[in-house]
């Protein structure tokens, strides 16, 4: 009896044990919040492809709205912008100064983050193509991918490219040189007919596609030979044809007030061809472009409504400011202590300089968008002070080595809040995000590209170019130019050039470096850049990315 019981219990135990072992799990991993690709194909379906496409659109935010991404590489590396080290502030181990100095290395954090954020756009756009998009969705995905490839090619001289469905653990192929330009042109040209013809600047329309195509044709000669670019007549004809089609479409016109293109309600700008959308107070996947004014404003500007609205960093060079012409003395255009002075006495001065009363900003905070020089005032016309109790009067002179040490280190440098701070909530506290749309392609750029191509075509049409430029200048309240040259190689900021006109219209819009390269003057010496070498015409492939993909080749000199 006892033995029987023993055996019975032992057997039960062993059975339990065996059952546990044989009943084991297959250890297949199921995701909690996320989906795998099969589930993705099933769950999002045809309509859901739009969600994947939306993700690619959202990818525009990081590279194009942060002060330390494309803005830094395209603007701080030029005469248009620099970030002096202000005593304890903004040294950040020299990251800003080396960009302006042209002494960066492959380990530079911004060089890496731009490469990666543009490739994220490349990736997400490519991925859309793997989920049976409609023709219009596929065309938009191609456009977004081509936009990222254009910027990668411009900055790094090469780009990695994957086909939809490729094994992501394998290194993708890399295109460089003219075959890279041709790849983008071919892909984009095929996609454009399927792009939507309307829908506003926040989606890739055919006009957006054609603008990107113009940029590819215009810069093709520069991409092929950065030290001495030459421009094929066929490419210039393409630029003129594509540009004229946009101009003649009648869809775009110059805004009455230049800064209305950059304020918090600029979604209705009639100059906007392609833009990154934002909504005031709504964090639709991004934080809005408030960095564009915070990075340049002094700490004490608008302190009452927007705490820490100013980071007191980015400035422009006085030489660039002077490219607006002799009518604009370095003391600044207008310094009205009188806030009610809505009408400016100097209407003949180029309105793109700003510094004037701006409804919606000056009447709320005293802020005047555009270039800020000299004493700044609050909303009541009271002169502002810096944190040390000195007059908050921006001084155009920056230390030659960009390291500010004097007692005025907080106020050196001309400031450029081109995007108008978002005061759509009036005098209540700014909560962010800002509603300003980020202008990626603007109509005047198309006009100026056509004008430039006319000057570069085999039989240059300088008169035609000048007419386009002067029509734009008139719209901006600037005097017409009697004549125009392409560039003055001895002075990049010579006011009488097409390069200067592009600077005056498109300053701080993330394309100055490309322009300087195309005009062959990126290596000349300018303010606060004592030396240079041709290797800096191309950014290096970031060290980390170079080691991840053996198909990438480090650019010469790095």
């Amino acid at each position: 009896m006892k033995l029987y019981k023993k055996i019975r219990i032992a057997s039960v135990a062993l059975i339990l044990f065996a059952a546990a072992i044989t009943g084991c799990t297959k250890l297949n991993e199921t995701l909690g919040s996320n989906l795998n690709s099969t589930q993705t194909a099933n769950a999002v379906g045809a309509a859901g492809v739009q969600l994947l496409l939306n993700a690619a659109y959202v990818d525009l935010g990081t590279p194009f709205t942060a002060q330390d991404h494309v803005f830094s590489l395209e603007e701080n590396s030029t005469d248009e912008s620099l970030v002096p080290t202000r005593g304890p502030d903004w040294d950040d181990n020299g990251v800003w100064r080396v960009i302006h100095n042209h002494t960066w290395t492959a380990a530079h954090s911004q060089v890496q983050s731009v490469f990666e954020s543009l490739n994220k756009l490349n990736f997400d756009a490519t991925n859309v193509l793997d989920f049976k998009p409609s023709a219009a969705q596929a065309a938009q995905a191609y456009f977004l991918r081509d936009l990222s490839l254009y910027f990668l090619l411009d900055m790094y001289g090469q780009f990695p490219i994957r086909n939809p469905g490729d094994n992501l653990l394998l290194a993708p192929k890399v295109l460089s040189g003219d075959s890279a330009t041709q790849f983008i042109i071919t892909e984009l040209t095929a996609a454009i007919p399927n792009l939507p013809t309307s829908g506003g600047p926040s989606i890739a329309t055919q006009n957006a596609g054609n603008t990107l195509l113009m940029k590819l044709y215009l810069n093709r000669g520069m991409f092929a030979n950065r030290t001495s670019p030459t421009f094929a007549d066929a490419d210039m004809q393409q630029v003129i044809t594509l540009g004229n089609a946009i101009i003649n479409s009648g869809q775009y016109s110059y805004m009455a007030n230049y800064f209305d293109n950059f304020n918090a309600t600029n979604s209705g700008s009639t100059e906007s061809i392609f833009a990154y959308a934002n909504t005031s107070g709504v964090s639709a996947n991004n934080s809005g472009p408030d960095a564009f004014w915070m990075m340049t404003e002094h700490y004490n500007q608008e302190a009452a409504y927007v705490p820490n609205a100013g980071w007191n960093g980015f400035s422009t060079t006085s030489d660039f400011y002077n490219s607006f012409g002799a009518v604009t003395p370095l003391t600044g255009v207008t310094n009205f202590p009188n806030v009610s002075a809505i009408n400016n006495p100097d209407t003949a001065v180029d309105s793109r300089l700003g510094g004037r009363y701006y409804n919606g900003a000056t009447n709320i905070s005293g802020q005047r968008p555009g270039f800020q020089i000299g004493q700044q005032y609050d909303v009541n016309g009271v002169a502002l002070m810096d944190r040390k109790g000195n007059a908050l009067a921006f001084d155009p002179t920056i230390a030659s080595n960009m390291i500010e040490t004097g007692s005025n280190l907080e106020v050196t440098g001309i400031r450029v809040p081109k995007y108008v701070p978002d005061f759509t909530k009036g005098t209540t506290y700014y909560e962010g995000p800002s509603g300003n749309w980020v202008q990626i392609f603007r109509y005047p750029d198309v006009v100026l590209m056509v004008a430039e191509a006319k000057m570069r075509e085999a039989a240059p049409d300088n008169a035609g170019a000048l007419a386009l430029v002067n029509a734009l200048r008139t719209a901006r309240g600037a005097q017409p130019m009697p004549s125009i040259a392409l560039v003055d190689a001895s002075n990049v900021d010579d006011p009488g050039t097409m390069l200067a006109e592009r600077g005056r219209e498109l300053y701080w819009e993330e394309m100055r470096r490309t322009d300087l390269l195309r005009f062959g003057v990126f290596n000349v010496i300018w303010q606060y850049k004592p030396t240079d070498a041709p290797m800096y015409d191309i950014y290096p492939i970031p060290t980390a990315d170079l080691s991840a993909n053996p198909n990438l080749k480090q650019n010469t000199g790095y």
């Binding site: 991993e29 996320n34 795998n36 994947l52 490519t126 302190a303």
Partner: protein, 996 residues
């Protein structure tokens, strides 16, 4: 659902069984236990021989035990003494004299899935019993063994109560941020994560992570085993590579009725253990003159008061802790229940950790005592109150940086009683502390039940089921009256976060324990385990509230109680981690030939849902041998060695601490109709593998009065898990990969203990341990990885450390500092060559020392320890207390003031801020007086006064050289960086313990 029912039934059964305990006609035996010098031995175990019925001696060495009529003798044992059997037949009282033996080889050591006799131990296992634990100010179990075990670095990350700990057993063997060992409590492996949500508020940085073991009552722990080498840890296979910490909780030993142990303590803080040097108000005024600060007379620069912000933010209220344990049982079953309540206030105002823990454990027998059912239940409720102290804050938003920078000539308050909130600097630290209401409450249940059945006298089957459920919620409120903070000022901010962590374990084991021949003993173990765990979280919040926007109109209603009032609602966020499943088969055999030659072989086969499809299972073997030389005939009469044993082991362990889902292709939804790929399919992803070799010997001299061990080890970790640079174009900047490189840790450990004096009136014990470790990454061909974020104004994007080939992990990598120019500006990297490798943040030497002095009923316990051979990067001095502050009217550090630097000098991260980290810390001192039994009811009364963190000897100029602020970058850990940490307070407590 079935598991819940199963659990319910299993939990009820033992309760019923206990209630059925029959009360036979027992007799009572009383006795006294002393050591060989006649001194009473408190806490000795007294068992009825051959049963689990027993009790323990009180502080005077006395015991009484109720024994069944059948009992013939008692077994008396205590750690450090040889066990003794005494006959009780016909006696009512006995006196037992134990002989000292620190080589008590029959003592059972917990080594995973059961215990082994110490004499059967072949691996490097260190055991610390309750009597050797650190005392005072303990919020988590790992602090109990700080500096107690050679080669184990336990760094409490900051002085905050409940702060996380960084534990490295024999050096750092991972590139990842989560590098902690596996915790096993009473046989249940834990997840290692924590359900307490971490808060990251824009502008305020991320609050530090908390210790995941806060739900344990330190008074419930009987012993902690640390499995250091592969021989010991390989039984935990893919989770054992960083070592294993096994915690065994106290079980009832009493018989013959209920025993109640109670304790109460009161504590407070007595200032900083070490204060960061900043200028006093008079020094500050002098500095204004010295540096020719413009407008020095303006009230923006010189407020005319004299304040000390570092003192003002500290707390000295009395905190209390209560502890109660009830235990009892007889030969049919035992039970123990304990309760713990404490409300430690933090050293900084408005912070703290309140803790309520209840446990219930027991054992009952059935089926002719062939069946043993054990159960343990721990329920811990931990409330954690935070203030604005973060790891990675920039230029403002941290109470510590605000206190360091507070202009000492400013008053904290305006004449009307409101906070003075000057616009310069980082803000008023008291206002910051007052405006933040941030509290997390985490409820953790750890329950396990096991049934063991003796199929044959030598063969036992055991089934263990456990559930560990933890739910945390956190309500974070930042009042809108706080001025100068974008997104907070004038708006207010409220965020509610919830997190859940649920783990379950099923373990089946078969144990065979027999003498094969007269001389050959075999202990064999085979088992199967299934472990699963899942984490989920959600968060929602709002800003733009209508209340508490001015200091004059504050109402005591938290934003998180009325989020609907916020004008702007944040997008709600929910997240469910992939479920982790691990199933394992394991086996272990220990062969003992005549107590001279021992061999242990272990094998574990682990499958994990986290591993890629091509590598679902990994095999982890180990083998170890031991030769007990002192048991050989030629050594038996040695006058020198009472014990000498030589050990060697080799084995492979794994590590799989990377996020679940890393091997899978993943697409994620995010806000506003977007959906995109976030992770790349990687079927090859597998565990990280550590191969280790250990040689050691254990020794005992002078009849065991001097004892200790020595170990040399060599660990090599390959297939390192790391977040590799993704191949662009990619969905994310990095993906988890197994890196083809080797991270090696080589070193030695030495420990020695001695009973220097042993007499009936006076005894003096001393223990010392020291370890040396060298860490190096080799065969790494990837790009240098920067880590160790340097934070603060002017150093955005700067890093202090790097992971690179032929360098120790996280080696300092900084631009060289080259002094000052004629204008007092610092010269950094004048050649423009960039950063250089500048030293090692990994301590090379760890040591600990402890001593116990006893004179009659008075005893003094002193524990200390330290580390050496490493550098600390002082990020606080770089960008918080730097010289530039003086010209803005904020305070600066005394070291900045005493340099020739001028305020115009740029802020730069450089080798200038590397400091020697060498330190010795007096961890705690406890003076205790034992009254013994003071009345018929009150027994074993003792009172004590104890102090923790009393002083530190170091040249480091920061708050505490034992610091590990999480400055990781992209998941790569940082080490030894100080950045305005929660400071360490010197704490004092008095308490009393007694039994009923």
């Amino acid at each position: 659902m079935t598991t819940t029912r199963f659990l319910r039934v299993l939990l009820l059964c033992p309760l019923l069984l206990i209630m059925q305990i029959s009360w036979a006609q027992n007799t009572t035996i009383s006795g006294k236990v002393t050591d060989d010098k006649g001194a009473p031995v408190a806490g000795a175990s007294v068992l009825v021989k051959g049963t689990k019925t027993g009790t323990s001696t009180d502080a005077t060495g006395n015991f009484t035990i109720s024994v069944p009529p059948s009992a013939q003798s008692l077994t008396v044992s205590y750690v450090g003494f040889g066990a003794q059997d005494v006959s009780i037949s016909g006696k009512t009282s006995v006196t037992v004299t134990l002989t000292t033996s620190n080589q008590n080889l029959n003592e059972v050591v917990v080594i995973g899935y059961g215990g082994v006799r110490k004499k059967d131990l072949t691996g490097a296992v260190s055991v610390v019993g309750a009597k050797d634990f650190n005392q005072g100010g303990i919020s988590a179990p790992d602090q109990l063994v700080q500096s107690k075990v050679a080669g184990v670095l336990v760094t409490v990350n900051s002085g905050e109560p409940g702060a996380g700990t960084t534990i490295q057993i024999r050096g750092s063997s991972s590139l990842r941020a989560s590098n902690n060992p596996l915790y096993v409590i009473d046989g249940v492996p834990l997840d290692g994560r924590n359900a307490e949500p971490q808060a990251t508020i824009t502008g305020f940085g991320t609050t530090p992570a908390s210790n995941p073991l806060l739900f344990i009552n330190p008074n419930d722990i009987a012993s902690i085993s640390i499995l250091k080498d592969a021989s010991a840890a390989a039984i935990y296979g893919a989770r054992g590579a960083n070592g294993v910490i096994e915690i065994t909780t106290k079980k009832a030993t009493a018989s013959g009725g209920m025993k109640i142990d109670a304790g109460v303590s009161y504590g407070t803080y007595a200032g900083y253990m070490k204060k960061f040097g900043v200028l006093s108000s008079s020094q500050f005024v002098n500095a204004l003159t010295k540096y020719n600060v413009p407008n020095a007379d303006s009230p923006f620069i010189n407020g005319g008061h004299s304040t000390d912000a570092l003192n003002a933010i500290t707390n000295s209220t009395v905190t209390q802790a209560y502890n109660l344990a009830i235990s009892g049982g007889n030969e049919n079953g035992r039970y123990r229940a304990s309760f713990y309540a404490s409300d430690p206030q933090g050293f900084i105002k408005n912070t703290g950790l309140d803790k309520y823990v209840g446990t219930f454990s027991g054992t009952t027998y059935g089926l002719n005592k062939k069946l043993t059912i054990d159960f343990n239940l721990v329920e811990g409720n931990v409330g954690h109150t935070f203030t604005a102290i973060g790891n990675t804050v920039g230029s403002q938003g941290d109470a510590i940086t605000a206190a360091l920078q507070w202009n000492p000539t400013f008053s904290f308050y305006n004449p009307d009683g409101t906070y003075n909130q000057p616009t310069t600097g980082t803000g008023n630290p008291l206002a910051l502390i007052g405006a933040v209401n941030d509290r997390a409450v985490t409820n953790t249940v750890l329950a396990n039940i096991s049934g063991s059945y003796k199929i044959l006298p030598n063969l036992e089957y055991k089934l263990l089921y456990s559930i560990n459920n933890s739910a945390g919620s956190r309500n974070t409120n930042y009042d809108g009256w706080l001025s100068g903070y974008s997104g907070i000022s004038g708006l207010g901010l409220g965020v509610i976060q919830n997190a859940k962590l649920n783990s379950q374990t099923f373990t089946h084991t078969l144990t065979y324990n027999a003498n094969i021949t007269k001389k050959l003993h075999l202990t064999a173990l085979g088992g199967y385990e299934y472990w699963t765990s899942q984490y989920s979280a959600n968060a929602f919040g709002a800003t733009g509230f209508n209340t508490n926007l001015t200091q004059q109109t504050i109402v005591p209603v938290l934003y998180t109680s009325m989020l609907q009032d916020g004008n702007t609602q944040f997008l709600p966020f929910t997240y469910l981690d992939p479920k982790i499943e691990i199933q394992s088969f394991f086996a272990r055999a220990i062969l003992n030939w005549d107590d001279k030659y021992l061999l242990t072989a272990t094998l574990r086969d682990d499958g994990s849902s986290k591993f890629g499809a091509n590598n679902k299972y990994g095999t982890f073997p180990s083998v170890a041998g031991r030769w007990t030389v002192s048991n050989e005939n030629f050594m038996k009469n040695s006058k020198v060695f009472s014990t000498l044993a030589i050990r060697a082991s080799y084995g492979i362990t794994g590590n799989q601490e990377y996020p679940a889902g890393s091997a899978e292709e993943q697409f994620a939804f995010s806000a506003y109709n977007t959906f995109g790929q976030v992770n790349v399919y990687n079927p090859n992803l597998q565990w990280e593998q550590t191969t280790s070799t250990d040689f050691g010997f254990d020794y005992g001299l002078m009849k065991g009065r001097i004892y200790g061990s020595f170990d040399y080890y060599d660990k090599n970790t390959t297939d390192l898990l790391y977040q590799s640079q993704a191949i662009q174009p990619a969905p994310a900047t990095s993906t988890w990969q197994n890196l083809n490189a080797t991270l090696s840790n080589k070193g030695f450990e030495f420990s020695i203990g001695a009973n220097l004096v042993q007499s009936s009136n006076f005894s003096w014990d001393i223990g010392f341990n020291i370890a040396n470790n060298k860490n190096l990454l080799t065969n790494y061909t990837g790009a240098l990885i920067q880590t160790g974020q340097v934070n603060g104004q002017g150093v955005s994007g700067a890093f202090a450390e790097a992971i690179a080939n032929n360098e120790p992990l996280d080696a300092f990598y900084l631009k060289p500092f080259q002094g000052f120019d004629n204008n007092g500006n610092q010269i950094v990297d004048s050649a423009g060559k960039g950063p250089v490798f500048a030293g090692d943040p990994n301590p090379h030497t760890l040591y600990g020392v402890s001593t116990t002095l006893r004179y009659k009923k008075l005893s003094l316990l002193i524990n200390g320890g330290g580390a050496g051979g490493f550098l600390i990067y002082n990020n606080t001095a770089t960008s918080v207390t730097d010289i530039s502050g003086i010209s803005k009217g904020v305070n600066i550090g005394t070291s900045a003031y005493n340099s020739i630097e001028e305020p115009s000098s740029a802020v730069e991260a450089s080798t200038r801020f590397l400091e020697s980290g060498n330190y010795f810390k007096l961890r705690n001192v406890r003076l205790q007086y034992i009254f013994g039994d003071v009345a018929k009811v009150v027994k074993n009364l003792s009172v004590y006064v104890s102090g923790s963190n009393l002083f530190v000897i170091t040249k480091f100029t920061g708050f505490d050289p034992e610091v590990s602020i999480d400055k990781s970058n992209g998941g790569y850990p940082s080490q030894s960086i100080e950045y305005a940490p929660y400071p360490t307070g010197r704490s004092i407590a008095v308490g009393l313990n007694f039994s009923l």
